[in-house]
């Protein structure tokens, strides 16, 4: 009895010792010498491994940053200036401040403004849908509504609004990593300068069809009518291929274009005072600012 007992203890203890020795030598032999600063940088990183910086993850970024001669090509959009200051501190570089960006959905063709012309019956994937055909509405440019951007966002910042069928970006969660921009096969989403106190004006449409065609497909489409370019005092708006684009650097946020746009395709967000409703009896374009107000509330 006692011998069995002792044998058992002896064999198990011996086995444990042997295996721990094996592990010890393996750990010693395969040890990789690393720059200790990589660990330090990784600690200050957000740790989301989103790939927004262009590297595979936070550790890959840290590894690349340590080897880089300067930080010009290394910027963590998620951590922003704050994290980059720390990273620069560890490496002894000057930190370069960058303006914060945010993902902006440039389509406002909601279900009611952009009626469907057929029923999509394939897999729920924008990529598959875009490869197949122009989409289930008359507009061949806008949002396909299958939510590839929602799936791509690692921060839970994008959700589909069931009422409009369009994605909504939660600005408080968006880190401007650009994953949604890459995921969208129609290039509907753009990374845009966040603007002072989040205020910005942008064209929420990418339809390049001629005015009449665009309007037929979607009541909220940019029809390239040039009214905004004429009213803009800062020459910030360019119309190319029947589509207006507002240059953030030139825009002074006067919002004259927002009032002028006949289809409500130009959006203004996060302004403390919403614009007065338009005098013209057009109920649908007036609905657009109302949506934005709601968005603002959710941010607060």
């Amino acid at each position: 009895m006692t011998t069995t007992f002792l044998w058992t203890i002896g064999i198990l203890a011996g086995l444990g010792l042997l295996l721990s020795l094996v592990l010890f030598f393996i750990a010693k032999k395969f040890r990789v010498e690393e720059d200790p600063r990589i660990d330090e940088i990784e600690k200050v990183m957000p740790g989301a491994n989103c790939g927004g910086c262009g590297f595979a993850g936070c550790r890959a970024f840290a590894d690349a940053a340590v080897k880089a001669p300067n930080l010009d090509n290394h910027y963590c959009p998620v951590g922003g200036d704050e994290v980059m200051k720390k990273v620069a501190g560890i490496l002894g570089f000057e930190a370069q401040a960058k303006a914060p960006m945010v993902a902006v959905v440039r389509c406002n063709g909601s279900c009611e403004k952009r009626p469907t012309t057929n029923i999509y019956d394939g897999v729920q994937s924008c990529k598959v849908k875009a490869a197949l055909y122009a989409g289930d509405t008359g507009c061949s440019f806008g949002c396909l509504g299958c939510g590839d951007c929602v799936a791509a966002c690692q921060f839970g910042a994008i959700s589909m609004d069931p009422a409009t069928g369009l994605p909504v970006v939660d600005e408080s969660k968006c880190t401007a990593c650009g994953a949604c921009v890459k995921a969208c096969p129609k290039s509907v989403i753009e990374l845009r300068n966040k603007g002072p106190r989040g205020m910005r004006v942008y064209v929420s449409c990418i339809n390049k069809d001629k005015g009449a065609v665009a309007r037929k497909a979607c009541k909220a489409a940019c029809i390239g009518c040039l009214k905004c370019t004429k009213v803009c005092p800062h020459e910030a708006i360019v119309v190319e291929n029947n589509l207006a684009y507002i240059d953030f650097a030139k825009c002074k946020l006067c919002r004259k274009c927002v009032l002028e746009c006949p289809t409500g395709a130009i959006h203004d967000v996060n302004f403390p005072k919403p614009l007065p409703p338009k005098a013209a009896p057009a109920p649908k374009p007036a609905a657009a600012p109302a949506v934005e107000v709601k968005k603002e509330e959710s941010n607060g």
């Binding site: 469907t116 012309t117 057929n118 029923i119 999509y120 019956d121 394939g122 897999v123 598959v128 197949l132 055909y133 289930d136």
Partner: protein, 320 residues
Amino acid sequence: MDKHLVSPNPHIHSAVSTASLMRDVIIALVPAIVVSVLFYGWAELLVLAVSAVSCVLIEWAIAKFLFKDMNLFCPSAATVTGLLLAMNLPVTTPWWIVLIGALFAIGVVKMSFGGIGQNVFNPAIAARVFLLVSFPQQMTNWAAPAGFISSVDAFSGATLLGQVHALGALQADKLVSLQTLFYNIGGSAGEISALALLVGWVYLLVRRVIKPWITLSIFATVALVALVFHLVDPSMYTGPLFNLLSGGLILGACFMATDYVTSPMSDWGGVIYGVGIGFLAMMIRYFGSYPEGVSFAILLMNMTVPLLNRWFHGKKYGRA
């Protein structure tokens, strides 16, 4: 319709669905079920009903309340599991043990791995083994109540395989005759009629629900192993015919080992899998302390399926 559908090709679909496949398996089990009910009477029907109904209800409840995904609820697949479980149990099994078996099969073996298509082990067999080790007394009580066929003596005692330990191999071998093919003495519902099970298996083959390779390789391996051992020492080891026709081998080979989820995808993988089951089953029968080894053999080989899927692939067009 004023708006038409648009989707990538193909635009038509075969009539086969998960539910129709499972329905075919149920139909294939009908001959064996009818024989067992004729043999054991209403008591057998009760075991079958309790098992099938509780499997369906448990799967429904877990899909609805735990996963909140009704796509995971496949009543026909749960029924198949329930029927197979019941066919592996003695007719005398109390209803609460059947219920525990159903709970283990669906709740633990199937749903905790992620539900339909995700389980590593065959739920019915895992539950049967679970019950066997948990309730050895009740699970080996083969006392048989009289059924609808009065000419068959109510046999109270062990199954054919049980007789090997009781009578020795030589005597046990003599118990097997042509009659065994049609009905068997003692045992669970799935052990009674080899012929009824084979009829069901042929139905599955004709309907192209399963392929024959797994089953055939099990049969061939069992026959070969038994033949070799039997020739070496007939007094110790029972012969091929006895081993093919006794115990749960036919049920296991035709219906349990061919379960889609827990068997290899490729034909060659299936052959290796079948050889493994046949060999392990025979080793357990000859050298194990349990008289029956098919269940354990299938569970052990279930574990090799991911590897077999990785190693064996079908032939690709234009590639060596």
